[in-house]
Amino acid sequence: MNEIVGAFVSLAGSLFFLLSAVGLLRMPDAFNRMQAGTKATTLGSILFLLGIGIMKPDWLGRMVILIVFIVLTNPVSSNALARAAHAHRKRIGARLEPDALAAEDGGKEAGHAG
C-alpha cells in the first residue's frame, strides 16, 4: 500500500519537473524562465522525494533533510540569478514595465560581456 501511494506522489512530482522544463522552453526571457524553473522544480522535488520517503520509510529522515535543503537553497540560487539577469537586462532583451530597480539605480548596467 505504502509503495503504490509513494509511487503516485513521485509521479506527481515528476509532472512538475516536466512543467518546469516546458516553462524553460516557452518563456520569452531569463526572468520568466526563472519563474517557471524555480517554483516548479521546488514543488516537484518536494513531491518526488516525499514519494520516495513514503515508499521507503527507512529513508524518510534523509528525504526530509534533502527537502529542507532544497526549499532553503533553491530560492537563494534563483535570487542570485535574478540579480545577474538584471545586471544584463538590456542585452538579454528582458521586457520589464515598470522597472523600479533600474529607476533606483539611474539606469546603470554592468559593463562586461554576459
Partner: protein, 165 residues
C-alpha cells in the same frame, strides 16, 4: 558574541540533522551525535548565529506551525499559477520589477521573507536594500509600492513578525 539561547538553538539544529541522518535510531549513535553537537555549539564563534533570531514563546511556536501551512498553500498555488501560465497558448504575462517595503529587521526574518516571496505566485525577489525589496512580478497588477506591498508581502509579514521580528 553568541548568547546562551543561540547556542541552545544551534545545538538543537545540529542534533536534529544528525538524528534525521541516522534515521533508524539507536541510543549509542544518538548520544555520540549529542556530544559532538554540544561541542560544536560550545565553540567560541564570535559571529551571531541567525537561528538566534527565532523567538521561543508559545505564541511564536504556534505561529511557526501556522506559517508552515500558509507557506505550503502558497507554494501549491504558485505552482498551479505557473502551470496555467506555461500551458496557456498565449502566455498571459506582463513582467515588471516593483518595489515593496518590509518591516522585518532581523537577518533570519528577511531570509525567510525573500524565500517565501520567491516561492509564491508569480514573484521572484531580485534585490534587498535596507527596507526596500525589489520583486520581479510576472504579471504586474499594481505598480504602486503600497498596493504591491499589500499584495506580495502582507500575507507573510504578519506571521514572520511574530516568529522572528
Amino acid at each position: 558574541m553568541r548568547t546562551v539561547k543561540q547556542r541552545i538553538l544551534s545545538f538543537l539544529g545540529l542534533w536534529g540533522v544528525w538524528l534525521l541522518l541516522t534515521a533508524p535510531w539507536n541510543s549509542e549513535e544518538a548520544a555520540a551525535g549529542a556530544v559532538v553537537a554540544l561541542l560544536v555549539a560550545a565553540l567560541p564563534f564570535s559571529r551571531a548565529s541567525p537561528l538566534g533570531d527565532l523567538k521561543l514563546g508559545p505564541r511564536a511556536l504556534a505561529t511557526l506551525v501556522a506559517y508552515f501551512f500558509v507557506f505550503t498553500k502558497a507554494l501549491v498555488l504558485s505552482n498551479l499559477d505557473v502551470a496555467f501560465r506555461v500551458l496557456h497558448p498565449r502566455l498571459p504575462i506582463a513582467p515588471g520589477i516593483v518595489k515593496v517595503k518590509t518591516r522585518l529587521k532581523t537577518p533570519l526574518g528577511r531570509l525567510l521573507l525573500a524565500n517565501s516571496i520567491t516561492l509564491t505566485p508569480g514573484t521572484i525577489t531580485v534585490e534587498m536594500r535596507g527596507e526596500d525589496v525589489f520583486v520581479h512580478w510576472i504579471k504586474v497588477a499594481d505598480a504602486d509600492p503600497e498596493g504591491a506591498t499589500a499584495a506580495i508581502v502582507g500575507g507573510f509579514e504578519k506571521y514572520l513578525e511574530v516568529i522572528c521580528g
